[in-house]
């Protein structure tokens, strides 16, 4: 099964590995357009019991779920949104390519998320998703100008029914 995310609308100025940059103070119209054209698709992945157990262990859960416990952890879907980027392309200070930001020396931080679970994710579900820019804000922060990118991520199940929607915030200083 293909496990790499598919990215469209991403050119080298938005590729963190390429180090392209946004204007220091704000987004240009071209930068804004590039971001809004991004579409990242996450191929179908099964939420297996092993995946859930690994996530449980990483969270520090000491006990094992019983076979009757099929509800997956709330944020288990986040395991599906990290592209398996080749090591040579990883940037030491960036942690979520290709949505890691514009590069160019600007600092990108995670600003939290909101997730609505239309139905619970359960072991055995097969989920696939799409992430795109929902909105972009520019504002003055305590330490200078900020760009806040809101990313909307949606996952559907094998029947194409919407399972969850996530709105996450990315702050670019």
């Amino acid at each position: 099964m293909e496990s790499h995310p598919m990215v469209s609308g991403l050119d080298n100025r938005c590729d963190p590995a390429a180090g392209g940059g946004l204007d220091a103070a704000a987004l240009s119209a071209a930068d804004r357009q590039r971001l809004t054209e991004l579409r990242i698709t996450y191929p179908e992945v099964e939420i297996t019991r092993e995946l859930v157990q690994r996530y449980d262990v990483a969270l520090g859960r000491a006990d094992r779920r019983s076979p009757a416990q099929t509800l997956a952890p709330v944020l288990v879907y986040t395991l599906l949104t990290r592209p398996p980027t080749p090591i040579a392309e990883l940037q030491p200070a960036e942690h979520d390519p290709p949505t890691a930001g514009p590069g160019g020396g600007r600092r990108v931080v995670f600003g939290g998320l909101t997730v609505e679970l239309i139905r619970p994710v359960r072991v055995g579900d097969r989920l696939r998703g799409v992430r795109r820019v929902h909105s972009i804000e520019e504002k003055a922060g305590r330490t200078g100008p900020l760009v806040i990118v809101h990313w909307l991520t949606e996952f559907v199940d094998a029947t194409d029914a919407l399972v969850l929607r996530e709105l996450s915030r990315q702050v670019i200083r």
């Binding site: 690994r54 996530y55 262990v57 990483a58 969270l59 520090g60 859960r61 099929t70 509800l71 952890p73 709330v74 944020l75 986040t78 395991l79 990290r82 592209p83 398996p84 980027t85 090591i87 990883l90 030491p92 200070a93 960036e94 942690h95 979520d96 931080v109 995670f110 600003g111 939290g112 998320l113 909101t114 997730v115 609505e116 679970l117 239309i118 139905r119 619970p120 929902h134 909105s135 804000e137 504002k139 922060g141 305590r142 330490t143 900020l146 806040i148 809101h150 909307l152 929607r165 996530e166 709105l167 915030r169 990315q170 702050v171 200083r173």
Partner: protein, 177 residues
């Protein structure tokens, strides 16, 4: 994580969980989430970025809050909405305490506020909405020993609701976590 009640909790009920993340846990969480950011496993790099020690992942902190919310709901329901926001860095080998407080009971929905505190104060805040899970085997009846305004009628439906997602409030500049 404190075991959740067999029935929906009343307003004001509190639940806590304690966490002491060490280097191994940060490594495992980086691995399972495919997170190569060096501030979580390379102490020298973390210091290079201006931190005194390895940072606890923001999503690990969020995961703990979600886990606590789920533990409250698990006997009778599930988490239908969850949000969190990192306020300040949290560092390896520091104890973090997650607290969930039931703030409102609205029909069949229970609203919970969430906070993770470190030695210096809150590091992550959030909230969750808990709703009955139609697949749970437990009866969805409120605890008669509390003043919970829930009613049995309100809780026996497995109706799922969907509300628009809205961006978090302004003023947050994010966290390196």
């Amino acid at each position: 994580v404190t075991a959740g009640p067999p029935r929906p909790p009343a307003v004001g009920a509190q639940f806590t969980s304690h966490h002491l993340p060490d280097e191994r846990q940060l490594f495992l969480f980086s691995a399972v989430t495919w997170n190569a950011h060096r501030i979580h496993y390379d102490r020298a790099w973390a210091r290079h970025e201006g931190h005194p020690d390895l940072l606890v992942h923001g999503t690990l902190q969020g995961g703990w809050l979600a886990q606590l919310a789920a533990s409250i709901a698990e006997p009778w329901g599930r988490v239908s909405r969850f949000e969190f926001r990192n306020l300040a860095p949290a560092y390896v080998n520091q104890e973090l305490v997650a607290t969930a407080t039931v703030t409102e009971v609205e029909g069949e929905r229970v609203h919970v506020s969430l906070e993770l505190r470190g030695p210096q104060g809150p590091v992550t805040t959030g909230s969750a909405t808990l709703t009955p899970d139609p697949l749970t085997s437990n009866p969805l009846t409120p605890d008669p020993l509390t003043s919970n305004p829930l009613t049995s009628d309100a809780l026996t439906s497995g109706r799922q609701t969907s509300t628009p997602l809205t961006p978090a409030r302004d003023g947050d500049e994010g966290s390196d976590a």
